[in-house]
Amino acid sequence: MSEVVLAQQLPPKRKKAKVELAQIVGFLILLLVTVAMIMPLLFMLSTSLKSTKEMLVFPPSMIPADFAWGNFKELFVNEEIKFGQQYMNSLIVAIMTVIGTVFSSSFVAFGFARYRARGSQFLFVLVLSTLMLPYPAIMIPQFLLFTKLGLHDSLLPLILPSFFASAYMIFLLKQFFSTLPNELYDAGRIDGCREIRLYWSLTLPLSGPVISTVAIFSFIWSWNDLLAPVLYLDSQENFTLPIGMAAMLSSKFRIAPWNLMMAASLLSVLPIVVLFAIAQRRFVQGIVLTGIK
């Protein structure tokens, strides 16, 4: 499906260059909507570069009178915000989550794709049914469990569960692994490969694209997550970025530091934009695959 989306920019084959009214109207609507959707982004960018005085001027200027690059520096040097520390925390959690999710989910998906056993069908249905399981329904006992283990106010409760595979990713990976031909595995076995090597040295190297999709999406989910960090993290130096940014609103600043918050938002979006820039194909594919299947 995604290939179809990506192929769409081929020049349209038309016999006559007749432009229809419907197309003009459609074009204008899209133009209007796109502008409306991009405006908030520009507003964010421009506010992040405004001085505290200028940010509250009405009507808002699109291009700041003086570029207050100091806002970005302020984020890192201001002791009350601890932005740098929180950025690191978010990176640690997201990267560890990606590592945990990729290895555990592909390991499990390999099992589901390659072997039949008593109860294997049932277990796969169970995997699918946990796709629906809302986090709020299990968060209280999970919180009590991790608190009893003494892991309150640490990053571990955010990372550990990812090492036990994610239902979404198992599903995605299993779909792909099932398309790999049996002959490949037979050949591997004849060459004396043990099963674990069939996973590690045969399946994983063949699965680059789907694994990068899994990695990208688990990174984004972890990076944006707010509810779980809010439950576990108490002290400001342990906050992940989302809580840290939300806390800036209610912090000791006399005026809400919108310019700083927009600068923070911008920096927090940066890794995702970079991922998008280098892996746009995977993005589109991930959305379409997880969406349609």
């Binding site: 197309q23 899209l30 908030p40 099992g111 329904a137 036990f164 609103l249 927009m262 998008f276």
Partner: protein, 298 residues
Amino acid sequence: MKSTKESRREGRLFYFFVSPWLIGFIVFALLPVLASLYYSFTEYDIIHAPEFIGFGNYSELFHDDQFWNSIKVTLKYTFISVPLTLALSLIFAILINQKIPFRGFFRTAMYFPSMISGVSMALLWFWVFNPQAGLFNYGLSLFGIDPIHWFLDEKYAMWALIIMSFWGLGGGMLIFLAGLQGVPAHLLEAAKLDGAGRLRSFWNVTLPLLSPVFLFQLIIGLIESFQVFTQAYTITQGGPNYSTWFYVYNIYINAFKNFRYGYASAMSWILLIAITAITFVIMKMSNRYVYYEGGSER
């Protein structure tokens, strides 16, 4: 035929590979679900041992205005935001699917904002809706509309959140776009030969083929909007006057601010049942309307 020995070996291998998930499922899903069912019948503040009170929490919920209000708030948001987001993302997908210039640009520009989610998005829109210096009121002022105190006015706070939710429709749009491009050209040709106009072939060919995509997005959309938390936590704290006191925010406050873990667990379980039931009902009903390619019946 496989020998028993071989299939026993295969079984061992299966459970070996699946074990990380199985352990995780038991520890992080099954036991928590059961534990929260148990806690829902107790009074529990983490300091004292859980005290069994039967259906006490549930009957208290029944008389709890805040609980009913949170349901009302969540449903209002859901019933407005989900259908509109679905409809708009379908419409934009159709527009982009036409033969118009700059399609690639439109596609990216529409999708891009949906990558900015969570707290970044909430803060950005909090600022866009700022009554004094925000972009939105500036836009309105061009049409001579007086500044609206979006998140300070209980009449408008919910609407501001709903408008915000449209900003993320790019993801859904991409999914519809892929669906539209998966509609086989020969079917549309055939409809055209049969004399069907553009609207008619859309209604009778394209839409039925898109219905599984539609269904999937509907279910995901409902489940997500039942669990709105970030906006309430970051922007409104449930206010003004509880007009954005979402269901999951209510659970959060009861458990982690009021330390009523048992009471909050009862609400968690009601959420779980509601989501399961709605998914089930939609799937059942959809059997009549959704067309699956290669499906045997209907």
